[in-house]
Amino acid sequence: MEAVETVKKEATEEFHQLTRAELFQQLEQRIRDIKAEPPIQHDPENVLEVHNLLKYFPIKTGLFSKVTAYVRAVDGVSFNIKRGTTMGLVGESGCGKTTVGKTILRLTEKTAGQVYFNGIEIHDIPKSEMRKLRPKIQMIFQDPYSSLSPRLPIAEIIGEAVREHNVVPHEEMDAYLDQVMKQCGLQPYHKDRYPHEFSGGQRQRICIARSIALKPDFIICDEPVSALDVSIQAQIINLMMDLQKQLGLTYLFISHDLSVVEHISDTIGVMYLGNMVEYASKEQIFSKPLHPYTEALFSAIPIPDPDVKMERIILEGSIPSPANPPSGCKFHTRCKKCMGICRQVAPETKEVEPGHFVACHLFD
């Protein structure tokens, strides 16, 4: 018993545990700091530039809903996407991938940081301007069942926003819809049907058609195939790649399925608990994953060869709560290579080799 007490005492002496209020102060300071950062330099090659994006959801308590803590859903994420390329964003459930996507779309307001779309800071323009900009950035949702209004026919679902934004003249509307639907592998006679009459794959095609009908530059695909079975997944992925070639689209492909990401992405970002832990080109990251989390994640990719013995890195425990994440490096609670510093200091993102960014104390 005495021994245990001593260890505990040592541990408390070793690093100062932040109180709730202190943590809150620290987070407030972080928001202020990031808000004060100067605008980043815009590179015209990039469709999307995200710098230190912060999305904190306030936790309100008490009678007057006073903000006392934050859920750090996105905690300083930076990346750029070049025109015509696809960036894969991977990570476990609840690591903030979808929140990144929605914040980029301004479906939720950012807390701090910068999001540039074609050089425009989309969180700074008025809502009316934003509405005009919306056709250019589209989103494809994970669940093809709930993302289509059950009481509207397909033509209406696809054509509604086209009409709203006058993407094509009114007379050409019909022909345009036919063309878009054919592009997405739908038949024109599907126009009068309702979503409930379609299979999951067909619905996702409808979602894709809805997006590309607006002639967007950039599409956020939020796990577009995870609700589909594997054969259909391939169809959809191929369709998306075809469309990218035809229309010169740029994708942000959010997924937790690494094989799909490998297939479609040019660059890959790995997120853990609101942080981007590693960000590199597909080749770099697959050939040489640097971050222990990436390593563990990639070791889970099944190899379709019965003779190869997989060396899986099993992560202990589950992902901590983003409302109360571990101090220092957020991954240290599950990291096999955890060091003393990891518990106290959050690692900076460093460019280990050209185009390969990683946030880990191993590479200090």
Binding site: M139, P153, Q187, H196
Partner: protein, 745 residues
């Protein structure tokens, strides 16, 4: 889908239509169904729901089209004519003498008479002509027996004159009364002796002594002046002819025309009636010489209302005599009389032409300016005969009673000789001509209602029946109709009832071919009332539901879509409305409306508004919840991401997805509202008579008798409520199942 396949499909589409050979897995084989159609298909597969819809449809046709074909009105009251025994008259053997003339001594008289009664036999020991003195208050009387027979003797009552008063044995004689010395002495002596005797005799004269107190005595002397007659006999003058003619307007018109024309006789129904001038009027004599009427030619104009304007220009209505509005009244009357007698319908006075219209004995005159006046041309005064007032003539009655007491067949009065016919216990009096002028009997009678005139025939028959203990008899009533009278004896009173034709409200009539469901308490056709009641019940149901939907969707929609502070405020409002006690509120407002005499339609409106205002909260919560959940659905996010306007997002994406829920909820709550309305109607707080609703029809069952005997009043209405509510519930359940995507069949 690869390009090959889509090319193949394209080819198929381009192929001629007569060769439409589709592949087995061709998507076009699937019929396109909109969500609405799908719901409909699912709905009609549900047998209960179809039954519900059929019930609702039938109820609608019944309630909204039924009344058009119903031969009866909503509040038409049905009556039936019945002949039932009704009170007509009461007869009684009269034992208590009626005093004709001054009756102030009645109680003293009855006491004096009662003293003569034999206590053991109960009979009076009296003889004709027997005299008994009695005192009453300050006066003394002598009764003289006229007729000792019968239950109670008939007596003449003579007043006595006060001649002296004694104080302490000293007699003081009244001044102005001549008393001879012998009587004076007798009274003085009597007074001095203390005066024990009650009566004194002096030269055949009876002196009555009244002891006022121990020391004061009064002495009265008899006189021959009768002051009253006490008899149990009732006299009925028998002058039927006059009454008969008086009600015959045809006859009266003929007579009045003849009078105005100055003719000396009128022929009517084959009889000739003489007209002779008498005094100011004309006397009408019947064919048998009886005098019937005295006709006075009199132009009496009635007051009319004349409209004019006062000095401020406001219209005023003034009552004026019609004649006073005519310029030259004399000339007018002359011209009018002439016109009436000539039988023309217009006459001219000066430049004005008046029109004349006969209305019974009245003439309506219309002036050139349209003013209508009523002129009564003639007035008829029944004359009867000179024997009319004899029943109250004291002298006549004395003579008659005396004759009866003596058993004489005749008596004379006023120089005329009257016959007395004995019909057993009753008598009839005839005049010198031999005509019966009066019935005399100790049977008292009287009509039970104002308006009943008892005919002589009735009186005779009644007397005969009472004497012979008959329990019914036939008589001719005042309208000349033969009527059957039934006698019911209670406590010595003979209650006569006749079968009277009365119009009764045909309430609680059992179902018949005329009224398939009978009539209700108010005599209205239940079947027709059910139709109109259904209208009200269904209209209330639908209007209230629409009102609730209107309020609920707006409040719930705003609350759910905008959320935050708006949501908080609106939901507190909803809770506020939920906290209002429903029935107490309705009961209070219902009685307030009762007090303010709110009209039936306003009342219906108020009831609907109230039900709506108190009932929208449920729908508001439902809509809010649904919108809250829909708002987070991906398709709403997608709609936002595609940059669709807010209004379009609400009306194209949100509302259509709330509609199914609303339709289901509204249909299901319709039944509940109809029930609430019925409850209100049953409690008497809903719609009021003459308006009907199913609830208020059932309300009549609060009478225990209706509940036990007249099932047709309340059971059909109750069944209507039951079936309709069931129908709505079936349809609501069916809709809910049909809209539920999990119910895939």
């Amino acid at each position: 889908m690869d390009k090959e396949k889509s090319a193949e499909l394209e080819k198929q589409q381009e192929a001629p239509k007569d060769q439409e050979q589709l592949a087995l897995d061709d998507a076009r084989r699937v019929k396109v169904l909109s969500p609405g159609m799908l719901v409909f298909k699912r709905f009609i597969r549900n047998k209960l729901a179809v039954v519900g819809i059929i019930i609702i449809a039938v109820m609608f046709i019944f309630s909204f089209l039924g009344p058009i074909f119903s031969p009866y009105g909503r509040a038409q009251i049905f009556t039936r004519n019945v002949e039932e025994p009704g009170k007509y008259a009461t007869g009684k053997f009269n034992t208590e003498p009626r005093i004709l003339g001054d009756d102030s001594m009645k109680s003293a008289y009855l006491k004096a008479l009662g003293d003569q009664k034999d206590k053991t036999t109960g009979k009076y020991n009296l003889t004709v002509g027997q005299e008994i003195s009695f005192t009453s208050k300050d006066s003394a009387y002598i009764l003289k027996v006229l007729n000792p027979n019968g239950a109670t003797p008939s007596c003449g009552i003579y007043g006595m004159q006060l001649i002296a008063t004694s104080m302490d044995g000293v007699a003081v004689f009244e001044s102005g009364v001549s008393v001879d010395e012998g009587l004076k002495g007798l009274i003085t002596e009597h007074a001095a002796n203390g005066g024990k005797e009650k009566t004194l005799e002096y030269k055949g004269m009876q002196i009555t002594v009244q002891s006022v107190s121990k020391v004061q005595k009064k002495y009265f002397a008899s006189s021959d002046t009768p002051v009253a007659l006490a008899s149990v006999n009732i006299c009925t003058p028998t002058l039927g002819a006059v009454a008969d003619f008086q009600s015959d307007t045809e006859f009266l018109r003929a007579v009045s025309l003849a009078v105005m024309a100055g003719e000396s006789s009128v022929d009517y129904k084959g009889d000739s009636y003489a007209l002779t001038a008498s005094g100011e009027g004309t006397l009408l004599t019947g064919p048998d010489g009886t005098e019937l009427f005295n006709i006075e030619l009199e132009n009496r104009s009635e007051t009319i209302e004349v409209e004019s304007t006062d000095k401020d220009g406001n219209p005023v209505t003034e009552e004026m005599d019609f004649l006073s509005t005519v310029e030259d009244a004399d000339a007018f009357l002359q011209a009018m009389d002439g016109a009436i007698s000539e039988g023309v319908d217009s006459f001219t006075v000066g430049e004005n032409t008046y029109t004349l219209e006969k209305m019974d004995t009245e003439y309506h005159v219309t002036a050139p300016d349209g003013q209508l006046g009523v002129v009564v041309a003639n007035s008829f005064t029944p004359v009867g005969t000179k024997y009319d007032a004899l029943d109250t003539d004291l002298e006549f009655r004395f003579a008659m009673e005396t004759a009866i007491g003596k058993g004489a067949p005749s008596f004379s009065y006023n120089g005329e000789n009257f016959g007395l016919v004995n019909n057993g216990a009753d008598y009839s009096v005839t005049n010198p001509k031999g005509e019966e002028i009066m019935l005399v009997s100790d049977i008292a009678y009287g009509p039970d209602y104002v308006g009943i005139e008892l005919t002589v025939d009735f009186v005779k028959k009644l007397q005969e029946a009472m004497r012979t203990n008959q329990d019914s008899f036939v008589f001719v009533n005042q309208y000349g109709e033969e009527t059957t009278a039934l006698i019911n004896i209670v406590n010595g009173n003979y209650y006569v009832s006749t079968l009277q034709k009365t119009t009764l409200i045909d309430g609680r009539a059992a179902p018949s071919s005329e009224h398939p469901l009978g009539t209700d308490v108010n005599g209205m056709d239940v079947f027709t009332r059910l139709m109109y009641g259904g209208r009200v019940s269904l209209i209330v149901g639908f209007v209230v539901v629409f009102f609730e939907l209107f309020l609920g969707v707006i409040v719930g929609g705003i609350s759910g879509y905008f959320g935050g502070v708006v949501d908080t405020i609106l939901m507190r409002l909803v809770e506020l409305f939920n906290a209002i006690p429903f029935y107490p509120m309705l009961i209070i407002i219902g009685s307030v409306m009762d007090n303010m005499h709110v009209g039936q339609y306003e009342r219906l409106m108020m009831t609907m508004v109230l039900l709506g205002v108190l009932g929208w909260t449920g729908i508001a919560r439902l809509v809010r919840g649904q919108i809250l959940s829909l708002r987070e659905q991906d398709f709403m996010v997608a709609a936002e991401a595609t940059g669709i306007r807010t209004s379009r997002r609400i009306f194209r994406h949100l509302i259509p997805n709330v509609m199914p829920l609303l339709i289901v909820n509204a249909t299901a709550s319709l039944g509940g509202i109809i029930l609430t309305e019925a409850t209100l109607g049953y409690l008497g707080l809903g719609v009021k008579y003459p308006m009907a609703s199913w609830g208020s029809i059932v309300n009549q069952v609060n009478d225990m008798q209706v509940m036990q005997t007249a099932w047709w009043i309340w059971i059909p209405a109750g069944l209507c409520i039951l079936i309709t509510v069931l129908g709505f519930n079936f349809a609501g359940d069916g809709l809910r199942d049909a809209f539920d995507p999990k119910m895939k069949r």
